[in-house]
C-alpha cells in the first residue's frame, strides 16, 4: 500500500503537467508530497495511540463493563474509588519496592561501568555478561527465577554451600516476595543502564582524568569528581526512566506470582480490572492516572535537565 502511494507520486510528477501550470508544477506537488509519505504513519499513530487514549479518558467517567451496549456517566466516581478504596490504593506500596530497586540498579550499573572503563582483563566478557540479561525474553527470565527461588531450589542450595541453612520462602513469604521480584527486575534491566553509562564515560575526554591522575587523584576520586558530573544528563535520564518503570512493572510479577496479594502492581491491577472483572470504567480511570503521572514525571525531567543534544528540529 505504502509503496503504491509513492509510485503514484512519481508518475504524477514525471508525467507532463497540465499546460496551465507548466511553469510551476514542482512547487504545487511539493506541498502534497510529504503528506503522501506521512499518511500511513499518521493514520496508524492516530488509530493505535490517540484514539485509544481519547476513548480511555471517556470510559473513565462511566461504569462501562466492556461488553454491554449501555453505560452510564458516573462523573469522577471511578477516580474517587481509586484513591479511597485501600485495596485499590495499596498497589502504590508495591511500586516503592521497585523504586528502591531501580536506585540500587543505577548505583550498581554506575559501579560496573566505572570499573570496566578503566583497563580490565576480560573486559569484553564481563561487559557482555552484565548486559546479556537485558536481551532475554521476559517469560524465560520469569521461569528461570521461579526455578531459582523454589523451596530447596538453586538459591537455597547455594546458600547452604556458604553455610546458611534455611529454606526461605522467597516468593511465598509476603514480606519477601516483592524484594525477590524487584531483585529479578534489577537482574534483568541493569544491563541497559550499565551500557549507557559505559558509553557516556567513554565520551568524557581522557585528558581530564589523565591530568587528575598526574595530580595524584585516586580512581574513586576521579570517578566522583570528574566522571559523574560529566555524565549527569544520562544519570538523571536513567533515574526518570527508573521512576516511570517502577510504576509500570507488569511482566515479571504477572508471570511469576500471577500478581496475587502483595505482589500486585498498578498495571497488573489495571489489567485485571479490565479483562478479568470487566470493570472497564474503573480500569480506564487507573490507566489515565498512570498516564498523567508519567507525563508529569517527564515534564519535571525536561524542566530539570535541559536537553544538551540538538533537539529534533
Amino acid at each position: 500500500m505504502t509503496p503504491m502511494t509513492g509510485l503514484s507520486v512519481r508518475s504524477a510528477r514525471s508525467a507532463p503537467p497540465p499546460a496551465r501550470h507548466a511553469a510551476t508544477p514542482p512547487r504545487r506537488w511539493r506541498r502534497v508530497t510529504p503528506w503522501l509519505y506521512l499518511a500511513v504513519p499518521l493514520i496508524m499513530l492516530v488509530t493505535f495511540t490517540y484514539v485509544p487514549v481519547v476513548s480511555m479518558i471517556s470510559y473513565s467517567f462511566t461504569d462501562w463493563d466492556g461488553v454491554s451496549p449501555d453505560r452510564s456517566y458516573v462523573g469522577l466516581d471511578n477516580y474517587v474509588q481509586l484513591f479511597t478504596r485501600p485495596e485499590l490504593f495499596s498497589v502504590f506500596a508495591t511500586s516503592l519496592f521497585y523504586l528502591v530497586a531501580s536506585f540500587a540498579q543505577i548505583a550498581l550499573a554506575l559501579y560496573f561501568a566505572a570499573v570496566l572503563s578503566f583497563g580490565t582483563r576480560l573486559r569484553g566478557f564481563f561487559k557482555g555478561v552484565i548486559f546479556f540479561p537485558y536481551l532475554l525474553n521476559g517469560v524465560a527470565v520469569a521461569f528461570v527465577f521461579l526455578y531459582l527461588f523454589q523451596p530447596g531450589g538453586t538459591l537455597d542450595q547455594v546458600l547452604r554451600l556458604v553455610g546458611v541453612d534455611a529454606e526461605i520462602l522467597w516468593l511465598g513469604n509476603p514480606d519477601l516476595a516483592n524484594v525477590s521480584l524487584s531483585g529479578v527486575s534489577v537482574w534483568r534491566f541493569m544491563g541497559l543502564n550499565f551500557v549507557l553509562f559505559l558509553g557516556a564515560i567513554q565520551s568524557v575526554p581522557s585528558e581530564l582524568h589523565e591530568a587528575a591522575m598526574l595530580d595524584g587523584a585516586s580512581r574513586p576520586q576521579i570517578m566522583w569528581h570528574i566522571i559523574i558530573p560529566s555524565i549527569r544528563p544520562i544519570i538523571s535520564l536513567s533515574v526518570i526512566l527508573g521512576v516511570a518503570g517502577a510504576l509500570s512493572v507488569f511482566e515479571i510479577p504477572y508471570i511469576m506470582t500471577g500478581g496475587s496479594g502483595e505482589t500486585k502492581t498498578f498495571v497488573i491491577q489495571t489489567v485485571k480490572l479490565a479483562f478479568q472483572f470487566n470493570k472497564t470504567g474503573l480500569a480506564s480511570a487507573a490507566a489515565v492516572v498512570l498516564l498523567v503521572v508519567i507525563l508529569l514525571i517527564t515534564w519535571v525531567q525536561r524542566r530539570l535537565v535541559p536537553e544538551e543534544r540538538t533537539p529534533s528540529t
Binding site: Y37, Y59, F112, V115, F143, L161, S248, V271, T313
Partner: protein, 275 residues
C-alpha cells in the same frame, strides 16, 4: 603499588560475583534441561546432568509444547512488523527532514507525545480498536500494533537522514528523479546502518514481547514463543526439566544473535534509549 593490589582484587572479585549472579541461574536452567525425571526426583539441583545428550525434554517441548508452531508464528510476525517499521519509519523521517510543510511542528509533536504513553495501560481501549477491525485473535492485530507506534525507529531514521547531504537529492532531481525515486534509490540505500539498528532493536523487542500476543491471540495455535512458553506452566507444572528445555530454546536464538552481532546490539540499544 601495594595499596593498588587489594583494590584490584576487590574489583575482580566484584566482577566475578556479578558474572556468577548472571550466569548461575541460566546455567542451572541449562543443566536441568538435560536431566531425566528420576534425576529431578533426587532433588540435587546443582548436580550436573548424567548425560548432556539427553534431548528427551527438548523433544517433549517441541511435540507437546507447540514450540515449532510458536517459532513459525514469531518469525511471521517478526518479518511483517520489521518490514513495516522500516518502511513507515524511513518514509516518515524522509517526509519530515526533506520537505518543508506547514504542520511539521504539529506532526513532530504528535510523534513525540506518543512516546510518553505507556503501552500496557492503553490496551484497555486499544483492544476495542483491534476488535472493531475484526483483527482479534489473528496475527495481524499484533503486527499492526508493532508497526503502528514505533517512534524510536522514526527517531533513529531521522538522526541518520540528517547526515545524508541534500546535494545528493538535488543531483538526482537534476537527472529527472521524482521524490519516490530519490527515497528508493538515494535515501534508502544510505540508511543501511540505521536499518540494521532498527532490525536489531525491533527484532529483539518483538521476539520478547509477551503481553500483546497474550492479550490479542488467545488461540493456542497462534502462540508465539513468549505465550507458548508461558503455557508450559500448566501442563508441565512440576516438570521443571521440560520447562527448562523450553526456556533454553527461547534463550538460545538471542544468545546466538548477541554473540554474532555484539557491536550492533550495543550501539542499537544505546541509540534507542537515548534517542
Amino acid at each position: 603499588m601495594s595499596a593498588r593490589l587489594p583494590m584490584a582484587a576487590l574489583k575482580y572479585l566484584s566482577l566475578v560475583a556479578a558474572a556468577a549472579v548472571v550466569l548461575l541461574p541460566l546455567l542451572t536452567m541449562f543443566g536441568t534441561s538435560f536431566k531425566t525425571p528420576e534425576e529431578m526426583a533426587a532433588g540435587d539441583v546443582l548436580a550436573l546432568p548424567a548425560s548432556w545428550f539427553n534431548l528427551e525434554n527438548y523433544r517433549i517441548a517441541f511435540a507437546n509444547g507447540n514450540m515449532l508452531a510458536a517459532f513459525g508464528n514469531t518469525a511471521f510476525i517478526l518479518l511483517f512488523s520489521i518490514t513495516g517499521t522500516i518502511l513507515i519509519g524511513s518514509m516518515s523521517a524522509y517526509a519530515i527532514d526533506r520537505f518543508a510543510f506547514r504542520a511539521k511542528k504539529l506532526v513532530l509533536a504528535l510523534f513525540l507525545v506518543a512516546t510518553l504513553v505507556p503501552g500496557v495501560t492503553t490496551q484497555v481501549a486499544t483492544f476495542e480498536v483491534i476488535d472493531a477491525f475484526g483483527l482479534f485473535d489473528t496475527r495481524w492485530g499484533p503486527i499492526l500494533l508493532f508497526m503502528g507506534t514505533d517512534i524510536v525507529a522514526i527517531y533513529i531514521f531521522l538522526q541518520f537522514i540528517r547526515n545524508i547531504p541534500v546535494s545528493l537529492d538535488e543531483a538526482a532531481r537534476m537527472d529527472g528523479a521524482g521524490s519516490f525515486t530519490i527515497y528508493r534509490r538515494v535515501i534508502l540505500p544510505l540508511l543501511k546502518p540505521a536499518i540494521a539498528t532498527v532490525v536489531i532493536i525491533k527484532g529483539i523487542t518483538v521476539y520478547n514481547e509477551f503481553y500483546i500476543p497474550f492479550l490479542y491471540m488467545p488461540s493456542e495455535e497462534l502462540g508465539v514463543i513468549s505465550t507458548s512458553l508461558f503455557r508450559f506452566k500448566g501442563p508441565f507444572g512440576a516438570h521443571w526439566e521440560v520447562i527448562s528445555a523450553g526456556a533454553v530454546l527461547v534463550i538460545l536464538p538471542t544468545l546466538v544473535i548477541f554473540l554474532a552481532l555484539q557491536r550492533f546490539v550495543y550501539n542499537g540499544f544505546t541509540a534507542g534509549a537515548t534517542k
